[in-house]
Every structure is written in structure tokens, then in C-alpha cells.
Amino acid sequence: MLLRLRAVFLFGRMQREMDEEMRAHVERAADRYMARGMSRAEATVAARREFGNATVIASDARDARGARWAEALVTDIRVALRAMRATPALTLVITLTLALGIGATTAIYSIVDGVLLRPLPYRAPESLVVLHDVQRTDRDLPASFPEYVDWRQRTTSIFSDVGALIWHGEVLSGSGDAEQLQGAETSANVLSMLGVTPTLGRAFRADEDLPSAPRVVMLSDDLWKRRFNADSTIIGRSITLTGQPFVVIGVYHASPTAVLPQGNTFAHGKAPDFWEPLRLSERNSPRGVHYISVIARLRPGVTAAAASVRLAAVEGQLEKDRATTHGIAMLPLATELVGNLRAPLALLLGSVVLVLIVACANIANLLLARTTARRRELAVRAALGAGRLRVTWHVLLEGIVRATIGGVCGILLALGTVSAARHFLREIPRISEVTLDVRALLIAAALSIATGMLASLVPALRASRGDLVSDLREGARGVSGGRDRVRHALVIAQIAVSFTLLVTGALLGRSFERLTHAPNGFDPRDLVTASTWLPDSRYPDSVSQIAFNTRLGDAVARRFGATNVALTSDLPVGGGTSGDITIVGRVFAAGQAPMVQKRVVSHGYFSVLHARLVSGRLFAAGDVLGAPHVAIVNEAFVKRWFPTESPLGHQITFDWNTSGPQTIVGVVADVREGPLDQAAPPAVYAPSEQVPNTFMNMIVRTDRDPSGVEAVYRDALREIDPALPVLQVRTMSDWIASGIARRRLTASILGAFAVAALLLAAVGLYGVISYSVTQRMREFGVRAALGAVTGDLVRLVFTQVAGWIVIGVAAGAVAGLAAGKLVSAQLYGITQTDPWAFGASAVLLAIVGGMAAFAPTWRAARADPLEALHAD
């Protein structure tokens, strides 16, 4: 090592001396020219010309000195760098290709792997499933408590364990500031099912999830360290959560990667602060209330398919025994958390491979073209006596240097993309787990670099082998037609691949675009939302809850105006709360009982959202506790159950939270009270001054940013009840965006691939056309000499380019149709044959292709007959 360093050091000195000597030579020659009356500039130019190529001389001079390999290496790298600087277009194009090929594919693979492929951080995650309630008309509801009990009792032959879980907030008070915590209420067995074991104390006992059991809690070690200074005497002590005493029984390690199912949605990589036993009974949680996530672990040896068959039998039994129409659906936990992305996933991984292939093809093409064009130069050098190894080595080294620079750019691009994804796609579950996948990086880099070296090495070996005569004679034209055909096929394949990806990206992007502009039935601009949580212990009855909600609404309205503030039990465009209702005077057949979205809203709700009243009236100041019970329904409700008559005056009953039937007083146009990508579900609204609710979202129409609203909301809360927390202040637009985050991920990843593939295809097209034009300059010259005008030559080149693009697009369109089928479930508002997506992709490709072809075509068009004929 030291010797090597010494050699390089000595070499540096030698190099400097040699430089100085040669510079002195040039200066003295310049002096001579100046003495003859030239200007300094002219003299310098003349002296330089007389001296010759300093680099080559230096290199040859060093060869003469028998320089050591370390010296030679440094020089050769310099020569390679200079060669790269001499061909800036090629260097740029190869660097870009390598950076894209390595960077984009690695980054995107890393994201896909981290979010979708990597096993969940639980014990034996592959056997974990989630059970949903399904009804003919409503798919994938959470379970109700009695259903959970039934399922657990009747599936013991299928599952080794069935557990229930509810995402749950608590307010910690007592020591320091009151703090909002996010945790879970679970049946006693969930922790051991997931493989969470206490690091301190104990886990829940089997009987601790009974309603009669004393209140106990387990804390995450984060919370324990933050709020209790990691004091191990906490075990057995009592803490206050939302006004209730809980005995701390254990501390567990909060893995930052733990993701837990949360009703219809999920928590984003944030581990729960606490676990509490779920203390439910059929009395406090009736069959109509669906809000429980049910997790189960398949018995060893029971496959998912076998489980489904046995579940169907259980379903049949339950239908009879419980006179219910609700069935059971089973999903792998991983699918529940990140969605069924198998089809798009296959497409994404396929894209990774395709983009990488395109990148490698490009590099091979470009270097093949360059080295072939240099065959004459290489032959000349060999004829002048340069060693075969030396010539090959120079070519190889140039390839290595190019590959290294491209590879470094690729790694930087990959790192940048991954950190950008973590920043901008924060609503994606598990995105915080994503790190650059080193294996993928190595594979991508090795493939691209090896391709580059092979592609430059083959012609170099050939040239150095001494096929000199033919190479000298043929010059740069000595390329077989066969190799041209391969080159052209590669370009067509690139066009086809990028077209397929463009179409798929366009389909998803357009779906996403349509979705974000889907009519919600309300105006989401300038809306900010905030919420708080009323503890049952301090707000035990309807009167106190309603009074609180009214006071809070009024306090905020004083700042923003009464017409700009509303309350609702669930924000629109979310999962919401659904349940059964009965319509007085109607009897429903099995499976047809009304299942609706239920909302408790203040009377300003519809006007603040800019929703439209269709008939009847909105809620008014008189709809308070003690006045006749009233309800408003939406048009979807009317269409479903009152298609031919007016619902006004009819009575309905919630089997939840209200006493006595409510009279329908109004019909509103559909506000999207369900997910954005589904039709608006039937909904029933009750006035918040008549029906209590412990969890109300406030919606404020304002042009202020969320922090302005938060300050006012916080002040209002402090005035009314300082122990209550401020939750989830955000704009309505952010809330809507979080609901379609998964689509956004797929669309943006595919979009990124499409752009990468398009750039690569453009680069490839440029390389091949440029090469082909260079090869044909003589032909163009002859044509020009025979009277071809500029237009003829341009047409000549463009006809070839257009042919490639047409064939590529046609092949890509066929593949695009197949790919469209894969993503058809992800499409919204368009079909997989959407002509706009296909048309726009074709136009974009044609434009980019034309741009790539422009410079070389221009060169062909200016073909000078004389120069072309002299060229050889």
C-alpha cells in the first residue's frame, strides 16, 4: 500500500516536471513566432500546433519511460476523462442512462419492497388474517362485538386464535401537560398473537378483557421513557387516562415498524402508545354497531383456501342461528394493511426489470456504436505499434470510468428518490420503513456496468486482434447489417416498453386525477378540520355531551362566523360509521335491511360544506333535545328506499344511541359520506343538539391555514375544559388526499417508471439515429451531390424513425392492453382502453422521439457532398 502511494506520489512529481518541460518548449516556440511578428495569441496557437497533441505525447513519453502501473493507471484515467470530455453528448447520455437505470429502478424497488413485500413485523405474519363482516350490499364492514364472539366460538377448527382490536385514543393527565395518546383496545390474546411480549411486567391475563375486570394498561417503552423517566416502579401504580384510573401492568417495546389495523383504515407506522383490554359485552355493544377489527391466526396446516371453505360453512350456520344476512370475509393481514396490490405489484416489478433491460440495451447500443466508430482509430493505433493489451485496456478503462461516474450518479439519484418518497408519500403505510435496498442496488449496478464493459470490449478486442487491413479500409463503415438489425430491434423494444409504461401510468394518473376531481357533493376548498374526544367519565349523559358540543361550536363561531363553523361525527370522504336502521311501517326481506352511514351533524353542516338541499328543510335552531326527533336523508337513501314517493314525514329508527323514531324532514344532495372511489352511500343525518356524540369533528370554512384554526380551537377548549386535547388539525384537502394515498403511490411509482423509460427510449433513439446518420453521411453526401435537397434527406431519416416508433407503439399498445387488465381494479371513471391515455402516450412518444431524432437529422440534412465524399 505504501509502495503504491509512493509510486503515485513520485509519478505526480514526474508528471509535473514533464508538464513543465513541455510547457517551456511551447513557450519558447511561441517566442520565436512572436519574434517573426505574430501576435501573442497567434504565436501560442502556432506553437501548440507545432508541438502536437500534448496528451498523446505525454502518454507516449511515459510509455517510453516504462512507467509503473500505478502511474499508468492515473494517466490512463485522465486520458479516459479527457476522451469523455471530448464527447460530451455521449458522456451525458451514458451517465443519464446509468443514473436512471441504476437509480430509478433501485429506488422504486426499495419502496415497493419496503411497503409491500417485506413481511410484517409480527410473529409468523403469513398466517395472520383479518376477518370482515360482509353483507350483500356492503362489503368489508368491521365486525360488531356479538359477531366477533360468534366467530371466535365457531372457528376453533380453522384458527388457533381470534382476537378483537379497536384503535382508541386516551388523554394522559396527572404528571405534566395533558397529552393525547393513540393506542388500542384489544381482546386479551391479541398481544401474544402478534408476538408482542412485555419487556417489563406482564401481559394481559385471559379474564382481563371482561367488562367486570379492573382497568389495566400496558405502556409502550417510548411513552414509559418520555412520561415516566423509565421508572420501573411504575408497574402496579395507577395512572389517569381520560379521567379514569388504570393500573400499569407492563411495558412493551414499541417497534417503530408495528402497523396495526384500524377499522377500515390503518395507522401509519406509528406504534400504539398503550394497549388496554377491550372490556365489551353484548349489552354495551349491540349487533348493529360495526367498529371492531378482527384478527385471527390460521391453525398450522390450514391453508387459506381450506379456511375459506370452512368459513362458508360457519357463515351458513350463523345465517340460520342468528337470522342475519351478514357473512364473513377473510383477508391476509398484509393485504388488509397495504391493499390488494398484487396486480399492480406484478406490473411494478415487471417495470423494474424492463427499465433495467432498456437501460442495459441503451448502454450496449451506445458503446457498441462508439467503439465501432473508433475501430479505425484503434486500428491506426495498433498499426503504429500500440500494444494490443494497451489498446484494449484504454477502451475498457474508458468504459469503467464512464460506468463509475454513471453508477455514482445512480446511487445519488436512488438515495434522493427514497428520501423524497419518505417525505412526500408520508400517508403511505410503512413508508418510514423504506431504506435503499443494497442488494437491488448492487444487482442493477453490476448489470449496467458489466453491459457497458462487454459492449465496449468486444469491438476493441476485435480491433486489436489485427484485423487491421479491413478495418483501415472500411473505416467506420465496416459494420455488418446483422448488428444494425439487432440495434434497431433494441430501439423498437425500448419504444414498446416505454409506451406500455406510459399507457399504464396515464391510466392510473388519469384515474387519480378523476378521483381527486370526483364530485363530492361539497366544496372541499378552504376547509380546516379539528377534533377532540369527550371522556365518558366526565361527560356521561346526552345533556352534558350536547351542551359541550354546542358551547365549543359557538366559541369557535365567534371568531370565524356562525355560517362558517359546523360539527360532524365523521368527516366526509372517509370510512365513517355505518349501521342498521329500521323504516317505520316497512318490513324488509332477508338481506335487504337498510344499512346506512350515520352522521350526527350541527345545523350548519350542509351550508358550511355548500351541499344542496333537494327538498324539505335543513336542521334549524329549534331541533334540540326535547323537541320532536328529526332526521335528514340523502338522495342515495331516497333512490334506494323511496324511489317513487317522498320520504318527507316518514319515520326511521337508529338501533343505536337514540331513543324513539325520527321524522325525515329534509333530503340533501349526496355528500360523499363514504370512500371517494365508491358511489355515495345512503346516509342519515341527525342534529347534534338532539343526538349526543363523544367524538365530534369541527369543520371551519376559512382562508386561514390550519395553525390559525388550531389556535382558536385550542383557546376555545381551554376556556371550556382545559383537560381536553386538540386532535388532528388539518385541511379537508389533506384529509381527502390521505384516503387515496395508496392510489397515489401506485400512480406515482408507475409514472416515475414511465418517465424513466421514456427518457431511456429517447436516449436510445438518439444514440441509434445519431450513429446511423454518421454511418450514412457518405450516402447522404452522394444523394446531395445527385440533387437531393434538404427535405429529401430529412424525410429519409425521419421515415426510418417514424417506422420504428410506429412498430414500437403498436407492440406497446398490445402490451398496454394486457397491462391495463392488470390494473383495471385500480381504475376510476375510465376503462382500460381509454383512448385518451393511449392517444396521449402515442403523441408524447412521437414528440420525444422526434426531439431525439432532431439533432442527427439536422446533421444529415446539411450533408456536404464534397466533405462526405472526402470522408473516406
Partner: protein
């Protein structure tokens, strides 16, 4: 003036050694002197001269030292070593034999 003649293979070393024998000199002056002494018939370019100098230095026939020139520039001055003198003698003899043989052939024709 006639076009400068290309150097015959192997003659450059001989010329360099011969010119250095009379006086140590630097690369630039050496190039100028080759041109002058040969009455502009021979022109040697830097691309041949410096590699030749380095080759000779490597073989120990010439040695180099940095000196100040009259114009104040630092210049690398080459001079003949003892081995160089010996090599010059033998190469000179060889050349004479070769040239004699060649002119004999040409005269006969």
C-alpha cells in the same frame, strides 16, 4: 525549400546522442539544432523527440538536470553519460557501415 524529410527509423537516437556529445542542451534547443544542423532537411517534432529523450534517459545513455537558462526560465538540460558515449561510438560505426552499404547499392543501380 524542399519539404522536410521524415526521419528514418532508429536515426533519431543517433542524432540526439551526437548533438548532446558536443554540448548539453534542452529539448527545445535540441529540436531547433536538429533542424539547423541538417540544413532544414530533417524536422523532428516534439512528439518524437521527448519520448526519445525519455527512452535514452531510461536506458542511462543521457542524464537530465534542471538549470536556469539565459532568459530566466527553468529548463531541463540533457547531457551524455559515459554509457551514452560508448553507445554513440558503436552506433556511429554501425551507421557508417549501413550508410556505406546503402550508397554502394544505390550507386550500382
Amino acid at each position: 525549400m524542399a519539404k522536410p524529410a521524415p526521419l528514418l527509423q532508429g536515426t533519431l537516437d543517433l542524432i540526439v546522442l551526437e548533438l548532446l556529445r558536443s554540448e548539453p542542451t534542452n529539448g527545445y534547443d535540441l529540436a531547433q539544432r536538429i533542424q539547423a544542423v541538417s540544413r532544414d532537411v530533417l524536422q523532428v517534432n516534439a512528439g518524437s523527440l521527448y519520448p526519445a529523450l525519455y527512452r535514452l534517459e531510461e536506458r542511462g545513455l543521457v542524464k537530465a538536470a534542471w538549470k536556469e537558462t539565459d532568459t530566466g526560465r527553468r529548463a531541463k538540460v540533457y547531457s551524455l553519460t559515459a554509457a551514452g558515449r560508448k553507445a554513440l561510438e558503436s552506433q556511429r560505426a554501425e551507421w557508417a557501415r549501413f550508410a556505406g552499404a546503402l550508397s554502394h547499392i544505390l550507386k550500382r543501380a
